[in-house]
């Protein structure tokens, strides 16, 4: 063997220890930031899922049997002249997602622990306990259904930004469905006679919940991923989810000596504000699309009509629940009006007309 070794040319591998071509290029430079500078979320997210329009020199290299590539624009009826424009408003990447989720479960755990220690569940009004086991117990399945629908939807988006926003949406819904499940299970440790199977039975059989189950299954069964995302956040959440969570549970609970349940349920309202902001941003971009805005708007109106009709029917079926608490401090009609106004405001923000659905 002959010696070919050359001495190590550089003593330090640290930034700034030498100046040469490219030594100052310390930002990801392959995408256009939304703002003046790229956010950390953009650096973590943009272009991680490539496509032939963004650097994929050799195209997708595996296809489904019918020739459909790994990601395909035809997986939604909506069209975009620039699928890469969308950025999630909540700017979530893994660290912020775990921080927020962990904070929520910590808050809920502390709340339940301290509430139980103070004997709060035993002071709940008896009629209210039955409402919780029957109806909050039923509602947790709707949250789970939307969580699985969005888990499905996050496979199909044409960009990483869209798919990750739908993924975190799914994570929030699945967590909340488990929050409710475990909360009721812990209440059952303190309140004798609470039936943990009642919720599912009401979900499957009680006429009050069949409209909601139908609307949820319609979201789960949709084959267009953006229809699923739209139906979840623009239709079901305001017309059924918020209606039940804010319009019923959070308003009624205190009057039934229950300070715990509103705090548990409040977490979902916080989740929804973020998911809604992301969804509004995406659909707003699509409605404003210079080439496809009009056709996209027409599709959103169709989706609103399809899922809105089911959601309104679901909402009306829920009406009897408002009569079940012993102390009645909220009216269904008021809650539904608020829900409809919420949808009108969301639709106005996105830029499409909901009169055909809401005024029927």
């Amino acid at each position: 063997m002959s010696v070919t070794e050359t001495p190590s040319p550089q003593k330090s591998g640290a930034a700034g220890s030498a100046t040469f071509a490219g030594s100052d290029s310390r930002k990801y430079n392959y995408f256009e930031p939304k703002g003046r500078k790229a956010s950390h979320y953009e650096d973590m997210t943009v272009d991680v899922q490539p496509d032939p329009e963004r650097y994929l020199l050799q195209d997708w290299i595996i296809s489904f049997a019918d020739g459909t590539p790994t990601y395909d624009k035809t997986w939604t009826a909506l069209k975009s002249s620039n699928w890469h424009q969308f950025r999630a408003v909540d700017q979530e990447w893994e660290r912020t997602h775990y921080q927020r989720q962990s904070t929520i479960v910590g808050m809920i755990s502390n709340l339940i622990e301290n509430g139980r220690r103070s004997g709060a569940p035993k002071r709940f009004d008896r009629a209210w306990v039955k409402v919780l086991s029957d109806h909050l117990g039923a509602y947790k399945h709707a949250e789970f259904g939307l969580g699985t629908a969005t888990m499905q939807a996050q496979r199909y988006g044409y960009t990483q930004m869209i798919n990750n926003a739908i993924l975190t949406n799914s994570s929030y819904k699945l967590r909340f469905s488990q929050d409710l499940t475990l909360y009721l299970g812990e209440l059952a440790l303190d309140i004798e006679g609470i039936d943990l199977d009642a919720g599912k039975q009401h979900w499957l059989e009680d006429p009050i919940w069949q409209g909601t189950r139908h609307a949820t299954e319609a979201v789960m069964g949709a084959t267009d991923y953006l229809e699923q995302y739209f139906a979840t956040n623009i239709v079901f959440e305001p017309l059924v989810g918020e209606l039940f969570r804010s319009g019923f549970v959070m308003q009624m609970a205190a009057a039934q000596n229950d300070f715990m349940t509103p705090a548990v349920v409040a977490a979902a309202e916080g989740d929804y504000e973020r998911n809604l902001a992301n969804a509004v941003e995406l659909f707003h971009i699509l409605v404003l699309d210079p080439d496809h805005g009009d056709s996209n708007r027409a599709i959103l109106v169709q989706w609103m009509h399809k899922h809105g009709s089911l959601a309104l029917d679901a909402a009306h079926h829920l009406q009897p629940i408002w009569s079940q608490p012993r102390v009645k401090v909220a009216q269904f009609a008021d809650a539904l009006d608020l829900a409809k106004n919420r949808v009108r405001a969301i639709a106005a923000e996105i830029g499409f007309d909901v009169r055909a659905t809401l005024d029927q």
């Binding site: 392959y30 049997a65 888990m151 996050q154 789960m220």
Partner: protein, 556 residues
Amino acid sequence: MPDSLTLNKITAQKGMSISDATRRVADLGWTPSYVQEAMTFPTDYKIKKTPRDPMKQVLRSYFPMQEEKDNRVYGALDAALRGDMFRNVQPRWVEWMKLFLAIIPFPEISAARSMAMVGRLAPGEELRTGFAMQMVDEFRHSTIQMNLKKWYMENYIDPAGFDITEAAFGKCYASTIGRQFAEGFVTGDAITSANIYLTVVAETAFTNTLFVAMPSEAARNGDYALPTVFLSVQSDESRHIGNGHSLLMSLINDPDNHLLLERDIKYAFWQNHAIVDAAIGTFVEYGTTDRNKNKESYAELWHRWIYEDYYRTYMLPLEKYGIKIHHDDVAAAWDRIVKKNYVHKTAQFFSVGWSVNFWRIEAQTERDFEWFEHKYPGWYAEFGNYWKWYEKLSHKGETQVLFNADVGYVYPHRCWSCMVPCLIREDFTYDEVDGQTYTYCSETCRWTHKVAFAAEYEGRPTPAMGRFSGRREWETCYDGWDIADAITDLGFVRNDGKTLVPQPHLHFDDSKMWTLDDVRGHQLGSPLLNFRSLSAEGKAAAAAEYRKGFVINPLN
């Protein structure tokens, strides 16, 4: 206060048991009756038995656990900077991270997407919670790796290559090999891709070399950020392995699935070997400066993690369910690593093509030669002269090794299946599929393309199986191009508009760094297009010649 009194004893109150909590959570699902869920990602498998979740974890404990893991990771990164890690890091190592970290975030997020595919297929709800956690885990892995890469870019001496990372990922011949991995997780038959290829083989077997063996080498090169991030990533893999095994057990229960399981385990094992061992073997063996003869070589690591840990304790026991395991493929993969120098030939190929990379590769030196010869007897006779040539031709003004006829290297064909070049020349083969000729590195890769990825398998219709597509031979994209124009098109030029991102050395000095003008004047060509243009006899003769291999000329 009595000694035995603790805060926990004062405040503790009875809670739900873990088994009760997981049972209740698993009961969240139901069978829809108003609208059926569409089976949008098809499979040819039958799944009758409900899989069980072996992990029994709920999201309430999952999120704080993951946040705590994150806090440790990010704390360690901060500590690494305070400890001036980059002052002592080995640039030879970090350069390879430009390739590795360009590739890995997309396979990770593809694994998240694939949970949608298995989540809907598996009957029952118990495992759906496991799949949901895996989905969020993979989101974690993808973005935590993007963060690590950004951290290298901000703190390592040469950020070029990190700064173009996702663009480079889409264009580089080497990262496309990694994309075969990622697309394989989410495309085609949902069980083949998301269960067998991803969890049963990639995660259960090969993440050990990816996320355990490789980070150990990083630490030996002064980089303790990569181990911190990747061992944290690996700690999530046990959950994924559990998900995969549980679904596998529900499939294996039905003898109708056995034929497809045998096909998919064969395909997945071989392709994981071909892709992961090429890449990770090269990083571990050629990216290191640590030549301690007492440390394990990649071959030894492979034997421990893949042969002993995976083959003997995971694959072999599947035989008791009536599955035929392809022992010969495991033996062949081992032979490729220890007898046929697969890793060394891959590293050689990467270095031959240095000018179309987006990272630097420096020459191996005398210290390296001794270690290689110690670990792989006979290495020097086959590769010693080549690395001497490489060092000589790493200086500006020389004709780069790719086009230097004095060296004796013969540019290889590319395998249409694993997309790694056909480096073990004697195993080269070719075949026709749908009337077109393709080249392969091995018989198993030929089988994968022609037999496994087809509409029928051993007489059984397989309508859900995927197909290979796209411009899989990278060289086709630049056939007839001047290499300087190709590098410009690739975007592998630094921000002065002329200096190449890749360099065949670790000199951080403009006067020694190659520019477009230093490489211009040589034309790239597609071996496949040339091969296809031959007659049947011509192809046979060319193949016979190719199988003879080449000899690197001595360097005087």
